[in-house]
Symmetry: C2
Subunit: 289 residues, 2 copies
């Protein structure tokens, strides 16, 4: 048991899946929840993954030992402002945002300084589907959760949140917040931008051709992340704009180089690039398997 009462603010895919997994693990005695969207509150009631669903955040966090802010990353500050007045004095608050430095900045702005009881965390798990209705029990099992401790961090708060994620089968890794944001700009934020951009372009071509009806399995996997929540990814790109823009510039440069190779008919160089990429992906697969 990592806490008696846990509150989840934001009943989306992550919040809902965390509730399912914590309950299944017997890690908390009671889970309360809040979402501004009445249909998500109704889903939470219907699915019985939240013990008590409230229509006010303050009501949900009252008496909670741990509060999980599971909202689009730019809503973190507002959610904290709404919850804090009703929180217990010894509350531990954590988040699940895909960017970490912007969250720490927002929390610092709300509180005047970085509070010891706030633990910034990012579970590396998800699907392209949104909402508690799509939540799944095993979303975090054998996945990583990055925590980015700050200089005022209470070690006990960090330990509780670490145990919470371990209780649902995740592996917790510590990292510097800025390093986190640079790494995930590369592995996650940039590919989302590319996938959205590519599908948007094809949608316009599709008016002339039968593009989508002739797309195979490669297309389906390549574009899966373009079905992700636009609100969530809007927030991520805005919150990590500098790192994302740097990488986008680099990616545009890479594609321009390939364009030049095609123009110059340097086919051997193109094949060498494909071979380097395949070898790099094999190294990645070997690492994660």
């Amino acid at each position: 048991m990592i806490a008696q009462r846990l509150a989840i603010i934001g009943l989306g895919l992550i919040g809902g899946s965390l509730a399912r997994a914590l309950r299944n693990a017997g890690a908390v005695a009671q889970i309360s929840g809040y979402d501004p969207d009445p249909s998500r509150r109704a889903d939470a009631q219907r699915l019985c993954v939240i013990d008590r669903v409230y229509d006010q955040p303050a009501a949900a966090v009252r008496d909670a030992d741990v509060v999980v802010l599971s909202v689009p990353v730019l809503n973190t500050a507002d959610a904290l402002v709404e919850c804090l007045p009703a929180c217990k004095l010894d509350v531990i608050v954590t988040d699940v945002g895909s960017t970490k430095q912007s969250v720490l900045d927002d929390v610092q702005r709300v509180c005047g300084k970085l509070p010891p009881w706030f633990v910034a965390a990012h579970p590396i798990a998800g699907t392209e589907k949104s909402g508690i209705a799509n939540s799944v029990l095993d979303l975090f099992r054998r996945h990583r959760v990055i925590v980015t401790p700050h200089e005022a961090q209470d070690p006990n708060a960090l330990a509780v949140i670490t145990r919470m994620w371990q209780a649902v089968g995740a592996r917790v890794v510590e990292m510097d917040a800025r390093q986190h944001d640079e790494i995930f700009a590369a592995t996650s934020h940039l590919p989302h931008l590319i996938a959205y951009s590519y599908v948007d372009m094809l949608a316009r071509l599709d008016e002339k051709h039968q593009i989508f009806s002739n797309a195979g399995g490669g297309f389906r996997d390549f574009t899966r992340i373009a079905s992700s929540s636009p609100q969530m990814w809007h927030d991520v790109v805005k919150a990590n704009a500098d790192s994302v823009a740097d990488l986008l510039d680099q990616q545009i440069g890479e594609l321009q180089q390939i364009r030049e190779l095609i123009r110059a008919k340097r086919w051997d160089d193109i094949k060498a690039l494909f071979e380097r990429a395949r070898a790099a992906r094999e190294r990645y697969l070997a690492q994660i398997e």
Copy 2:
């Protein structure tokens, strides 16, 4: 039974999977095969998916009613030159290449004119894995096969190849060769280029950061096609260079526009783009499901 004897030239993922499926369907009495790579010939023997494996293409096609050229697309002409002298007079020859106009051009060059007995075909199926050792029985089941009949096409040859693909569970669709190449430049060739380019870029960044160890499921799916055969995709890009280059220019333009939106902090426009893309992908999913 669509033919007594069928020969497969090129014992890769597609050739091997076709052999497994045809045998399983009882669609041919005997399958012979050839590959220039001794290890693939040994795999074919060991897996018993080819009845008779030969180390010369002419030996494999002798007495064959149907010859399937299952080689990287730029090898089609050479394979045809090697096979033709040993083929029966009433042979039907087909291919499985990812581009179709270049194949028709190559066949026309080899034969002096487009021969009635050649049927250009492209099964929309595959995985990122290569070689007969990775072949699977159900690769084509419920998948599309595009055939691109030409002006000299013998209707009987077209009917036999259509029945061959239907026998392994595929749906055969007719299309103009040039239109095929434009469509698949968009849905398949361009995403392969992007995925290779993106992974190659990250491999260089990985020397500084721990990029690959912090990649999640979105990354894995987005980059799956970067594990595809470099030789095969080198051939596809070269054979369909004009269409691919046009689309690559368009994609670079799209990414530059997103870069400008970030620079100008036009976050609402970015969200609108994400929303359009998600809606388009939902339409695509609704179409294929």
